[in-house]
Symmetry: D2
Subunit: 307 residues, 4 copies
């Protein structure tokens, strides 16, 4: 076990938010020898990490008091605002020169606000949302999309490399979020489009495997058709082959599409298909699909009239 | 010049419809040594082929009287109905055992009607729409998606191989059309989705080339993002780099989406994104984009308010 | 009972299609003293009318052989084509100068075809689809929208007045259908829009009755908000107050929207909201709403996430 | 001139935001005898009111220092936040017991925040957005939709009656905004739906005036069809009869639909048609329709292909 030795070599890293994603991410920091100081609003979320050697504190302010590099991984914008600027927030006790990396997926406008608030305290804030789910978080194969001052990117990269396979610099603060949101909007459109298309083809008499093969050698090809096909039986090792369990939940996709919609409204950008994709995932959430993989839209559209 | 010799070896092939696509296709049959008997409603369309050695007749019935293998390449369903079942149509003089291959992109229901009408005359009808544009037609690199009796596929393949690089058997009559329509519907969705996404990302501060790179290594990847990117400057050799000239016209895409819509309505299949994509290309046609490449939807969505 | 006497005064009227709508319509003709000669593909549909004095024949051709004024009321375009131009169709034995009135809701292009076929036989065809459901059919309160030669309108009106409260002349053949389809498309848009709006308002804390009142005195007012409100409890005597039973079925609305979509595609008319309304009713049909009143879209949209 | 006398009878009313709407509203307060103390970020906006006897101060805080009843009429949420909680905002000097009425159209969530902030200072905040445009503001015929503590409604009503013909109590804080946003969302849907329908009907051969008449006596009827028809020539005295000048600008409608979209996203309410309506008005803004009346969507959809 190298951790003890490592503690001498590495300085402490703060980690706030030990949920499904944060927990395995923090573990990977430990594995790479970083002493971790963590906190979460749910004390029980901290137990496993504590047993692995992490120090658990009461709130974000205390973490900021001890660590000058902090990673946050939280569910949504209000949580981020609270963890950074709330009464027990990071910025209450942040040290000058601290590096604050937020891996939550939130509105880029909130990232900018946090960066501005951090700057006033002499700290640096970067947004670094991830793509890849719990599996990629566990195996340290996440992709990080990073926004913030380019000069700080190397420092951020050192930490993020412990948790991810790709760390991509996207530009100024907020562009990490922008890249994440853009990708997921196009992903949602591609997935619904693939599902509509496969369903239509099947009803017109085409064999689904054959149709997938034709699309994948033609201009209809997309990640949803060639890597994550939503039709049961077309492909192995994907949620459609396992009753749409696992994968990326419909509810999470609906959340990301809500962010895309907000940024589009704020920038007056027309996104007709992205907007309709949002509405479709919204309706699915209300019909029992919330925790199924987002490729279950095929099933949602598939049901036949009169049955 | 091998044609004279070839005439001894090959039996005549009829070709009806010498437009932008039909003309180079028929030429490829000639190049491969097939004597061609052709006709078109516009006599001037026949001149070039006549000079190359094709025999030109007055109407489809006369072609059917002389050739027992006929290829048709026509703009839309009504033309196909007329060329097959009209007063001077193929079926008026078709020989028993003739092979009739229709490469037009039309409603699969019409393909089925034509097949049924041909069967009554003892002839075989197959639908074999193409993907690939005028360039692929000229270079003999089209992809054919073929629907019809499997027993006749080899005979059809022999001819289609002269004009295409891929000949894919799709199933019963109409499934060639189904495959073509499905692919183009997903293509349209992917192209509009990519355009919305790139536009949103740019307005959020991302560099377009970087965004394309991120999408293409992530789950947003699709043919429109990695092979035919709609944003000027991101990629070379595509219509977006050439003022959206060439390529696949918006008007043709609108037509194919109309077919997709009809088949979806007839089979009671929900296609919300396909349906909205249809409406968007429809609106573009009315705003001067009809003959621009269909990737110009980026430009259509791009215009900024207040400018 | 006036019928016997009436038989001396009025000439016979043919009636083809004795379904939910046709049956009460034919009864109203009888009530007004017209001798009715009827037929239907389902013999059991004819019993009630026969008991009331109508003469029942085997098929449309036989009806046309006896009556020179015929009304047809059929489910969809293929039925109309068969009843007019099929092997036992009206046009096989129609008399010169006959007046053929089709009250089915079908594609206006099919109405035009029928008119043209009738004209060749020396007969006159008019399209006269209805608004108002089974209740209005029973009470003779239907609205007829009539397309066809203006010179024949008076003759048509004489019969239609027996079954309807309003008979509106719309223009050339097919415009009756056009008016019906247009009205129902706007109705569907208004109903879904009202449902979205009421649902949003309720979630924002507004009392539904108050919100309806505000909309109805403002620019949001529409038939769906002020006459047929889809929210249970807001209004009495409408399907929303009776578990969405009765009224106008979702499946019928989906059918009419499919017609609207087809005519829009054929005339290259952009109908983005009409098109999305079609998709929404399509999805509802697949989720068990097919036979509920079309105002049940409120319920469809209403379900809350996480419940 | 009663003003001097009136000054003895009425206590001062603050007015912040003297734009197109605020200016005539403040004038109506003066006409009713209220001494007005006003401010605006653009000094030139204050001149006219000053000449009519209003006292002009430098900023909202100063107004709050002198008047204990204040009306605000501002373009959007950020302006409201600044005017209430900014460095020179109302809440900096607001007196205990003051009544603050905001007639801006903004996100109801912001109204709630302002109400909460006001409450901390011992003041009462109500949201009271208006329907009716500049004309109604000038003639004192606005409709106010009021949210806030019911106990304060009478006090608010006294002032609002000077500027409006209808003052409707909607419920708790934010419900005024909710009612306004809901109405305008349904209005937008009805207007686009009417435009699609009229356009489709015209292309199917119907006379526009006749079609409007049929819709208005049928279930397609709505405010946009019977009071504000978007087709030139159908109705007099509406913007469609005057090149879509005057009326309610497309840009303002797009803004309100953006608010509707935000509240729908925040409450996880599916609004598929409302969302698409938003996108359509967004696209119109980018195509030169920003300052035309929102009924110009008929013109936007009307353009024909190939012209």
């Amino acid at each position: 076990m190298m951790l003890t030795t490592a503690n001498f070599l590495f300085t402490q890293v703060g980690f706030i938010g030990l949920g499904n994603m944060g927990n395995p991410m923090a573990k990977n920091l430990l594995k790479h020898g970083y002493p971790v100081i963590a906190t979460d609003v749910f004390p029980e979320s901290c137990k496993e990490l504590q047993e692995l050697g992490a120090q658990i504190l009461d709130n974000p302010a205390e973490v900021a008091d001890k660590a000058d590099r902090i990673i946050t991984m939280l569910p949504s914008s209000p949580n981020v605002i609270d963890v950074y600027t709330g009464p027990n927030g990071i910025l209450k006790k942040v040290k000058k020169g601290s590096l604050l990396i937020d891996s939550s997926t939130i509105d880029p406008a909130v990232s900018k606000e946090m960066a501005s608030a951090a700057e006033k305290m002499g700290a640096v804030f970067m947004d670094a949302p991830v793509s890849g789910g719990v599996g990629a978080a566990s195996s340290g194969k996440l992709t990080f999309m990073v926004g913030g001052a380019e000069a700080e990117f190397t420092a951020a990269q050192e930490l993020l490399n412990c948790m991810g396979a790709n760390v991509v610099y996207c530009g100024q603060v907020g562009t990490g979020q922008a890249a994440k949101i853009c990708n997921n909007m196009l992903l949602a459109i591609g997935m619904i489009g693939t599902s509509e298309t496969m369903n239509l083809g099947i009803r017109l008499g085409l064999d689904p495997k054959l149709l997938a093969k034709i699309l994948n050698m033609s201009s209809g090809r997309c990640w949803s058709s060639d890597t994550y096909n939503p039709v049961p039986g077309v492909m192995e090792g994907v949620p459609s082959g396992n009753h749409y369990q696992g994968g990326f939940g419909t509810q999470l996709m609906a959340k990301d599409l809500g962010l895309a919609q907000n940024t589009a409204t704020n920038t007056k950008t027309p996104v007709p298909l992205g907007s309709l994709a949002h509405q479709i995932y919204r309706m699915m959430c209300a019909r029992g699909y919330a925790s199924k993989d987002f490729s279950s839209v095929f099933q949602f559209l598939r049901e036949e009239e009169g049955q």
